[in-house]
């Protein structure tokens, strides 16, 4: 378990919580410390509680825990919201001169540092910098060299001019000095720095970066939390590589535009979240029957309906697996970590083009908003491979023309994959349609042709099963009696949970599954275990259901659906209780 420190800043939306948190996270990352961030936010622009949390250590951090060491509270509510995570060594920094913070009660014997944030900020050049004063105070408490803040302040405010940057540096120092002078005690916290150079990014950014690296040139989408960051990341950047981001009028348009671009030969993607996926559903079948390569990304949030837009959930698994009428051959890939968001996106484009099918890239809010540090080589661009599948050009097209010289875009090849001619290719003109069609793309209701084409499309999945490595990631003790299975962003919490369990003498094997369809065969793994527990952020256990379906055996479930991601210590406790219980389903109570 890392020697970690848990830090947070909280206040009202509109207080600059996010940018302040990010400045601090970046400073830590620049100082060679690992960072894992999480956010509590509400679906409103101003007002309402919001917090940015940073867990940091010199070792890698992969999850959040139920503990808060340093809290910058811009509102009294921030303290209440985090009461359970505070402890006797916690330090709370707040502005005791604010009228609303007069009667603050500090819980669990924590230390209260009253720092006149606003007054000091005004002295430094403007009340708006009060958050930065607080950062300076936090540097003092943790003995974190304040110079590290300077670079992130430069990055954040550089555009606004040197004077602003200097004022901010000054504000930070005033916070630092105030604590130094007024509280001549030493605190238990210190933050070592290292020489490591890390990059700090979140899951949405990793998906956008992966898409550009993979040659995606066309992105169309409609804004929705928490997928919008993918779109924002790609906007402007993809242009530098000859591409374009288009903000469509709705998700129906977004997926159809992306489909059009893909048919024109571009690598294309759309990303959305639950309600948007619902709207796109009719087009899933069209993508599959027209055999168009398309990456459709669903960054899940809490549903159903508009649910809790800013809260975590993994409730769309069935939707991406089964959404759409009729039977739709497809792939469903679900990255399990922020860095995997990058690599699985690259893979999604290759799968889409190799098999000319929709590929669902399923991520979730917890990953989308989590920033994590990585060594830059984690995203080694030389490792990116691009496979465009069976694209034929002018010279090769003859092999795919029928006796009448017509291009057989839906030729029922043995592996299920037909040749593909980008529009503009001489002699390649052909029809394609959502209607059942023959090998030329012409509408048909001929019973034999129908069967031939359905079988042909389904064969792609079989071919992919043979050719691709739809594997899982494994952690813990391979011979343990207890097997924990999970998908999506739970991997980090469970990995750390394993260490906690190990300390208490519980041996656990953990398998994290990034491929939902096709997926690895888990029959042997399940058979080898005495107890199988499936961990996921939804109420009904959608992944547990498919595991049971595959292995024809009951599994136990840990489900969390209160909108908050799993925390490592909490998850370890849940697993422990499930192991100790004789049988039956365990569920985490919604908080």
């Amino acid at each position: 378990m890392p020697e970690d420190l848990n830090w947070a800043i909280g206040g009202e939306a509109g207080d600059g919580i996010d940018s302040t948190g990010k400045i601090f996270a970046q400073a830590l990352s620049r100082a060679g410390r690992h960072v894992f961030t999480s956010k509590d936010f509400a679906s409103r622009i101003r007002g309402g509680y919001t917090a940015y949390k940073v867990r940091t250590s010199v070792d890698r951090v992969e999850s959040v825990v139920d503990r808060l060491d340093i809290l910058i509270a811009l509102t009294e509510r921030t303290i209440h919201e985090n009461e359970d995570e505070l402890h006797e060594d916690s330090v709370i920094i707040y502005d005791g001169e604010r009228s609303t913070m007069q009667d603050v009660e500090v819980p669990h014997g924590a230390t209260a540092l009253e720092v006149p944030l606003k007054r000091l900020a005004e002295d430094a050049g403007g009340a708006i910098m009060l958050n930065v004063v607080a950062l300076g105070a936090a540097c003092e408490v943790t003995s974190f060299p304040i110079e590290n803040l300077d670079e992130s302040l430069q990055k954040r405010f550089g555009d606004k001019g040197e004077a602003i940057v200097e004022n901010n540096k000054q504000a930070a120092r005033m916070g630092q000095e105030y604590v130094q002078e007024e509280y001549d005690q030493s605190f238990d916290y210190s933050m070592e720095t290292t020489d490591a150079d890390y990059v700090l990014l979140n899951g949405d950014e990793a998906i956008g970066m992966g898409a550009i690296a993979a040659g995606c040139r066309f992105y169309s989408g409609y804004p929705i939390t928490p997928a919008t960051d993918v779109m924002e990341y790609m906007t402007g950047r993809v242009d530098q590589y000859g591409g374009k981001v288009v903000q469509a009028e709705d998700e129906l348009s977004a997926i159809n535009m992306a489909l059009g671009a893909a048919r024109a030969g571009a690598r294309a993607m759309t990303a959305t979240s639950g309600p948007g996926i619902d709207l796109m559903t009719e087009t899933f079948g069209l993508v599959a029957t027209s055999e168009t390569p398309l990456v459709i990304c669903d960054v899940m949030r809490s549903g159903p309906s508009t649910g809790m837009p800013t809260k975590q959930e993994q409730g769309d698994l069935n939707m991406t697996l089964y959404g759409g009428h009729g039977e739709i051959p497809r792939f469903v890939v679900a990255p399990t970590t922020v860095s995997e968001c990058f690599w699985k996106t690259v893979e999604a484009f290759n799968l889409a083009e190799k098999y000319q099918t929709p590929v669902f890239l399923v991520s979730d809010l917890a990953m989308a908003v989590t920033e994590q540090t990585f060594s830059p080589e984690t995203f080694d661009m030389d490792e990116v491979e691009i496979d465009r599948g069976k694209v034929v050009d002018e010279d090769e097209i003859d092999a795919w023309l029928d006796e009448q010289g017509r291009f057989q875009a839906h030729f029922p090849a043995a592996d299920g994959v037909s040749p593909r001619a980008f529009p503009g290719t001489a002699d390649g003109a052909h029809m394609t349609t959502g209607l059942e069609h023959d090998e030329l793309g012409r509408r048909t209701e001929d019973t034999d042709v129908r069967i031939e084409q359905v079988d042909k499309r389904q064969r792609k999945v079989e071919t992919a099963r043979e050719q691709e490595n739809f594997d899982y990631r494994e952690f813990g003790d391979p011979d343990a009696d207890t097997l924990v299975l999970s998908w999506g962003s739970n991997e980090g919490a469970m990995r750390e949970g394993l260490e906690l369990l190990d300390e208490e003498g519980y041996d656990v094997r953990f398998v994290s599954v990034p491929y939902i369809f096709p997926r690895p065969d888990l029959t042997d793994e399940v058979a080898a275990a005495e107890k199988v527990i499936v961990v996921e952020c939804n109420a009904t256990g959608q992944f547990a259901d498919i595991v049971e379906h595959d292995v024809l055996e009951r599994v136990e479930r840990i489900n969390k659906y209160n909108g908050v991601r799993f925390k490592a210590d909490e998850l370890a406790t849940e697993v422990k209780q499930t192991i100790d219980s004789d049988s039956g389903t365990q569920e985490v109570e919604a908080e």
Partner: protein, 287 residues
């Protein structure tokens, strides 16, 4: 593009299953003529079709083509054109497809002004689902689903287009082969979104908006002193709800297509074998 392309090169070997006499035959012939006339060939042309009797057009033509889902043809066309501006993109569909289920996309496609043409086969009825009221049906037009008429005024697609900032609005009549082909040709040649509402009678389910009706009612703008570059004149003509016009109602000669404004000038299909040159810069941004 080869110069010896004839309009029959755009014909597929599939025989249309439209009812004998359906207006869509004429509409399609004019589209093929116009495509050939403007120097296109099937290998550089992409036809996107909607759903309906009208939408079957893609099947009977020969080109790169996609027949999509109901109402969503326009976004597909926009995606195709943006990903490869070298292609000639034509979108076709019915009045139900374009002005009902796809009405939202219509307005936004007009606003976006991508360089493509949009041909709506307006028969003032739902043909393929066997005769229900469409958004352009008359207020008192009796159908199985509207026994006393829709009791709502018909939409005026040209007015919608004009108010959304259209740069080209025209109307034609499928049985006037010569004029129809000319009008479609003008839409293709227009630098931007060329919208043509085509009266394309349904001989099976609409006994009001017939060939005879249109033949009597239609006024050719070429035989009037209408100036299509004058937006006010265009507005007046478009708002005359009791008149049926043929010809270009409005054209903005200064139109600059969206993809040009966005700086897209080449196909997005060409990509390197691995990550693009200098892609590590994408990572370094996160320092």
């Amino acid at each position: 593009m080869s110069s010896d392309v004839r309009f029959t090169d755009f014909k597929s070997d599939k025989q249309p299953t439209w009812c004998p006499g359906c207006g869509d035959f004429g509409t399609m012939n004019g589209m093929m003529k116009a495509l050939a006339e403007t120097g296109n060939d099937p290998d550089n042309t992409f036809v996107v079709a909607g759903i309906g009797c009208s939408g079957k057009i893609g099947t009977y033509m020969h080109s790169y083509a996609l027949h999509g889902v109901h109402g969503r043809a326009l976004p597909v066309g926009i995606g195709v054109k943006m990903a490869n501006p070298n292609l000639e993109v034509m979108v076709a569909g019915g009045d139900g497809d374009g002005y009902s289920i796809g009405a939202g996309h219509f307005i936004h496609a007009v606003r976006r002004n991508v360089d493509m043409s949009y041909v709506v086969m307006d028969n003032r009825i739902y043909g393929l689902t066997k005769g229900q009221a469409s958004p352009t049906s008359r207020e008192d037009f009796e159908t199985g689903t509207t026994p006393d008429g829709p009791k709502q005024p018909p939409v005026n697609p040209k007015a919608l287009a004009l108010s959304a900032g259209a740069t080209f609005i025209a109307q034609s009549f499928s049985s006037d082969a010569q004029r129809h082909a000319e009008i479609i040709q003008q839409a293709i040649e227009h630098d931007g979104f060329g919208f043509v509402n085509v009266y394309s009678p349904c001989v099976t389910f609409n006994d009001v908006d017939t060939y005879d009706y249109f033949r009597d009612a239609i006024v050719d703008l070429d035989e009037t002193d209408h100036d299509p570059n004058n937006r006010d004149q265009a507005k007046d003509k478009i708002l005359e709800s009791d008149k049926e016009y043929m010809g270009v109602l409005y054209q903005n000669e200064d139109s600059v297509p969206f993809e040009q404004r966005e700086g897209i000038d080449s196909s997005m299909a060409e990509i390197p074998d691995g990550a693009p040159e200098g892609a590590m810069d994408l990572v370094r941004e996160f320092y």
